[in-house]
């Protein structure tokens, strides 16, 4: 119970900081939008190619946004020795991790739900009305997977000088299963019909990855933030 209260308090702190600074919101919205537009230019004028590329491009944009938001979350805490002071309190490291994860997850989910229609409109993709719940669920589960891994590695690299370069290098290889599950589930949802069953399978796999990563990362987070 104490850990739950502590995790919610840490998540609230991250939300308040972001509401006031808007540093992550501005950076991720701009970066995701630019990624979608640049990739659209790169893919050319073939409408079928554009539509089929939409799920992959969307998740690449969200993956980069996840890197930025997680890094910024720890960067804000490093100022004034506040993270150190937080870790001096008798709170479990798992609670700190879960709090920061919760804030990052909700942020990425909201960003994903905003970017979903933008990406589909830009790439000429459309999803049957009955599959939108699958898309929303994919964004939520995919966002959780990204947040779990990004928060862990952002904590690992927070005190390193080359953290901006190291974070994506360390994080992206680990994130491949989440990326694969999220892209495939999005593709299947776009096709609709019989492929909804396939989307459900990918979502189950995504949920499985999320659970495994969550258990492992929360269990070993103390190695990341303690000396």
């Amino acid at each position: 119970m104490n850990d739950l209260i502590a995790a919610l308090a840490v998540a609230r702190k991250d939300f308040l900081q972001e509401l006031r600074s808007r540093a992550t919101t501005v950076a991720t919205l701009f970066f995701s939008g630019i990624t979608l537009v640049m990739m659209a230019f790169g893919l050319g004028r073939d409408p079928d190619l554009m539509a089929s590329a939409a799920p992959g491009v969307l998740w690449v944009a969200l993956a980069f946004a996840g890197v930025i938001s997680s890094a910024q979350s720890f960067q804000a805490d490093l100022e004034e020795g506040a993270l150190e002071q937080l870790l001096l309190l008798p709170v479990s490291r798992a609670a700190v991790y879960l709090g920061k994860l919760l804030a990052s997850w909700l942020y990425l989910s909201v960003l994903g739900i905003i970017m979903l229609p933008v990406a589909f409109a830009l790439y000429g993709a459309s999803a049957p009305a009955e599959t939108w719940w699958v898309l929303v669920l994919t964004v939520i589960l995919g966002g959780l997977g990204f947040a779990v891994i990004a928060t862990f590695y952002a904590g690992l690299t927070a005190n390193l000088q080359a953290r901006e370069a190291l974070l994506p290098v360390l994080m992206f290889p680990v994130i491949v299963p989440v990326m694969l599950g999220a892209v495939r589930a999005t593709e299947s949802a776009l096709l609709g019909g019989a492929d909804i069953g396939l989307a459900a399978s990918w979502l189950q796999l995504l949920a499985g990855f999320d659970l495994v990563y969550l258990v492992v990362c929360s269990s070993i987070f103390h190695f990341v933030v303690d000396d």
């Binding site: 308090a9 702190k13 100022e79 150190e84 001096l88 309190l89 008798p90 000396d227």
Partner: protein, 229 residues
Amino acid sequence: MSSAPPPLAIELRDVTRRMGRDFVLRGMNLEIAPGKLVVLRGANGTGKTTLLRLLATRLRPTSGQAFVFGHELPRAGGAARARLGLLNVTGGSFPMLDARENLELAIKLTPGAGGAAAGALDAALAAVGLTAAANKLVRTYSSGMKKRLGLARLLLLDPELWLLDEPYAALDDAGKSLMDECVSGAKARGRTVFMASHESDRDHLGPDAVLELSAGVLRLYDPLLGSAP
């Protein structure tokens, strides 16, 4: 029938700490009983902050054993953290939260402190002279105000062991007097205070011991003779 003596507030046994290739702390032995006020002196870069961070569980000894109230570090770091508080040089508050939010967060993350009344929080802010600025973001504070907020956190949580890293830095004369009052008050309440400070005119605090850290080694400080072995 005799009962076991209470554990020492701080106990170091042949503790060393290496930062990179250099040994910052060398074979350090120290025993501080509960309720004592001990001042740590030393030139810049001699390892005072390293020692305080080690005692606060943020750094582990490279070799040797360190205990806080009998809890071995870092193995029993969680139990030790429940009984200590560190005031660092910058105050350690979140710049994008206001003073009240910073203190509320500290209460929520401290098991057992959840019942601290809102009155206690207001009293801590009043004690350090931050009532009027309680709802302003910490990033708008001066260095001295940030230090006062860190002090308010210590007063609010009132741990058994106060670790103070340059507590007078950035404070004006009124702030220094306030810090003196708080340190004296903590000692009067039976708290142990271990303070790293360059201030040489705080003798009126009546420290139980003054130590000097030089080249990674602790010595008793004698004002007439300088450092004595």
